[in-house]
């Protein structure tokens, strides 16, 4: 069995979702398996067209800081979140959506990017994934 990384994405902030997807892709590229479990505010990023909609975790300034960071990222030729998610899936990464959050937020499967989601689960699903992982992170 190959090594594995499991990440919980609790935050819906754009910069933190970047961290999660860069780490996930990095793990897959380095030969590990990877699972990312989206819960609470993080789950909102799995809504259709919602991936890049999050604010910045700091210095958002009503969206101005976010615009500036996006501009700087473009200048530094940083890949978009959509591309990182596509690459993550192409390399075999798993995406899990938290069902309880869906209930709380009033979201059904058809509100989410279903084609990107491998599994819908609760805490047991996460623990099952995490107990076999050598790297686990909470973002």
């Amino acid at each position: 069995m190959s090594e594995k990384m499991t990440i919980v994405v609790h935050s819906g902030d754009m910069d933190k979702v970047y961290s999660a997807l860069i780490l996930g892709n990095g793990a897959l590229a380095m030969g590990l398996d990877a699972s990312i479990y989206f819960t609470f505010w993080g789950l909102l990023r799995l809504k259709k067209n919602g991936l890049a909609k999050g604010p910045l975790s700091k210095m958002n300034f009503l969206g101005l800081g976010r615009l500036m960071i996006k501009y700087r990222m473009k200048k530094a030729n940083v890949a978009s979140l959509d591309r990182l998610l596509r690459d993550y899936k192409e390399l075999g990464g798993k995406i899990i959506a938290c069902e309880m959050t869906m209930e709380i937020m009033g979201l059904s499967r058809k509100d989410l990017m279903e084609e990107m989601i491998d599994d819908y689960g609760a805490v047991g699903t996460y623990i099952q994934e995490a107990k076999d992982s050598s790297i686990t992170l909470f973002i």
């Binding site: 590229a29 380095m30 940083v78 390399l91």
Partner: protein, 73 residues
């Protein structure tokens, strides 16, 4: 046996690693993959990934304004 080229010049973290991994996944045993890029950390990290994946590192070479890594699958 095929020769596969991956050009990630100008790409930033983590794209060189991702594109290398994609090429490895599509390759067959014995294929040679040549990656050229400019991202400094990837020059160190692609060889780490190559070791993790159990592949053979053939060459790391510094050219004028980019690096070249060759691996055997």
């Amino acid at each position: 046996m095929a020769n596969i080229s991956v050009d990630v010049r100008g790409e930033n973290c983590p794209v060189p690693l991702i594109e290398t991994r994609k090429a490895v996944r599509k390759s067959n045993t014995g294929d040679v993959i040549e990656i050229i890029g400019t991202h400094p950390a990837s020059k160190k990290e692609i060889p780490m990934a190559v070791r993790n994946l159990g592949l053979e590192l053939l060459e790391i070479k510094e050219e004028d304004d980019y690096w070249r890594i060759r691996i055997k699958c």
